[in-house]
Amino acid sequence: MNNGKIPTRAFLEMRKEVLNQWITGKEVVLDEAIAYQASIQAEKRFSARLAKAIVEKETLVQPRAGVALPAEHIKLLKHLQDEGTADLLPTTIDSYTRHNRYHEAQTGIDESVRTGKSLLNGFPAVNHGVSVCRNIVESLNVPLQVRHGTPDARLLAEITLAGGFTSFEGGGISYNIPYGKNNSLEKTITDWQYVDRLVGYYEEKGIRINREPFGPLTGTLVPPCISHSVAILESLLAAQQGCKCITVGYGQCGNQNQDIAAIRTLEKLTKEYLGRFGYRDVVVSTVFHQWMGGFPQDEAKAYAVIGWGAATAVLSGATKVIVKSPHEAFGVPTAEANANGLKTSKQLTVMLKDQIAVETPLLVAEMDIIEKETRSILEAVLKLGNNDFGLSALRGFEAGLIDVPFAPAQCNANKALPARDNNGAIRFLDFGNLPFDEDIKAFHRQKLQERADVERRDVSFQMVIDDIYAVSKGRLVGRPR
C-alpha cells in the first residue's frame, strides 16, 4: 500500500492495466478527457455548485437513480431535474458493475433491451463507455455524480470522469465494509488510492472533481463516531492523492439533536484532521443522507420519514441531502416516485432555509461526546499505523478499533453493537474493541440503562432487533409491545 502521493510515472503505468479490464477502457485518452472536462461550464460542475451552496447557506437536494439503458436513463434524469427540481443529479451504478462482473452486466443490458424493462438495479457505465456517458452529461443542466458501491472502481472512475462526470462517490473503506464480503481491505484502499490519484491528476491539470466518501456505511444504526472516523480517514487518503474538494457524509439516525451534532462535528473534525496533516486547501462540504435503514411500506408514512430527513438536513446546515422515495421499502423507484421524494425534500430545504438550529447545551453535549469518541478512535488508529493513513485503517479494522455494525465484510470485527437510548439517539450496547475510555463507556451504559428502566426490561439484543424494525413500523425507539 502506498503512503504518500503516487508518483505520476508510476500512476500512468498502472493506468494501462486498468484500462485493459474491459474493452471500453480503450476509449479513455487522458489529455482529451481533460480537455473535455475543461469544456464543461461552471453551473454543471459539482465543485462550483457546492461552493455556491456553502456561500448562500443552501441545502441542495440530490436523488439516487439509474437504469440499464442510456435513453431511459437520460429520460429518468431529465424528469428528476425538471419535475423533481433536483439541484444535483446522480448516476447510480448497477450491482454487477459494482462487482466488476461486466459479462453479467452485459447480460442484464441485453435482457433489458429484449424485455423493454430495466432488469438491472442501476446504470452499467463501464459497459456503455465514455461517449455514452458524455451523452448523458450533455443532456442535462445540473452537475452529475457517479454513485455506486464498487470496491474496485478504477475502471469505472476512468470511464466516467472521461465521460464528463464531475463528482465520484466512494472510498476504500466505505465501499468495502458495507458492500462486500471477501474483499481485502488492503486491496480496496490501494485501488481507491488510484481513484483519488486520478482525481488528483485532473486537479493538477486544473479540473476540479468532487470526491465523496460514502457516509452512511451499512445505513443501520451506525453511531456517528464510526462513520465520522471512516469519513475522515478517507478524506485524508483522498487529500494525500491530491483531491481538493471533498464532501463528507452521514446517515440520519432520527434523533434530531444527535443528527445536527453529527453534521456539525463531521465538518469540524474533517477540517481539523485535514489541517493537522497539512491539507489546508481542501474545500470541505457535508452531505446528509435521509434515513438509510428499513422504510415503512406505506407511502404516506414514507413521506413523513423523507420530510423529517429533509428538515433535519437543512436545520443541521448540511450542504446537500440525499433523498429517498416513497417506494423505498419496495424497490428501485419509478421516475415519478423519485421526483416526489425530491419535491417533498425541496419544499422543506427551501422553506426552512432561513431557520437555524441554535447551539443549545444539549447540542453542545452531544457534539462533545461525538468529538471525544471520534478522536479516541482516530488517535488509536493513527498511532497503530504510524500516521500512514492506509495502514492505520487496515490495522484499525483488524484490531476492531473501528467496527461497523451489521457489515457483511469479513475484515470488519462485527463485535460492536448499537442500540437507541430513551430519546432515540444511537449508543453502544457492546463496545467490542472500540478504544473508548471509562467515561465514554459509562455514558453509553447509563443512557441505555435509562431506556431499559423505562421499558422495564434488560438491555439486550432484543432491543437491537426492535430498533432495526422500529422506523418501518412507525417508531424510532423499538419499544417492547
Binding site: G108, L120, T218, F330, A337
Partner: protein, 137 residues
Amino acid sequence: MEKTTVVIGVIGADVHAVGNRIIEYAMNQAGFNVVNLGVMVSQKEFVDAAIETNAKAIIVSSLYGHGELDCRGLGDACKEAGLDVLLYVGGNLVVGKSDFEVVEEKFKKMGFDRVYPPGSDIEQGIRDLTADLKNKA
C-alpha cells in the same frame, strides 16, 4: 429430538446483511439448526451446503433487485443434485415496486415452493415452513 437443518443466505452479488442476521437469529430461536452462508452466495454454494448438511430447506433472500437473474436455474440445480428440499425465497425480488402475483408466479415456475413479498415477516416464513415440513413427513 434432532433439530431440522436449514440453509439460509443472500443470493448473487447482493450484500444486504441485516435481514439475513435477523433471519438467522429468528430461526435459531425457533429451534432450527441454521447454516448461514451470509451474503453474496452463489447457487452452487446453496446446493453444496444443502447436500453437505442434509438440510430440509433452503431459504434464499434477495434484496437488491437482481433476484430474477440470480435465482433462475436454482430449482433445476437442486433437482439435478438429487436434493429433496423446500425452496423458499423472499426479500425485494425484482427491480421496482411491482405486482406481487406476477412475481410469485415467475418464481414458482423457477421451482420455489414459497415466494414472499417485500418486508414479509420472517415469523410467517417459519410458520409456513413448520407446516410444510409436517405435511411432507
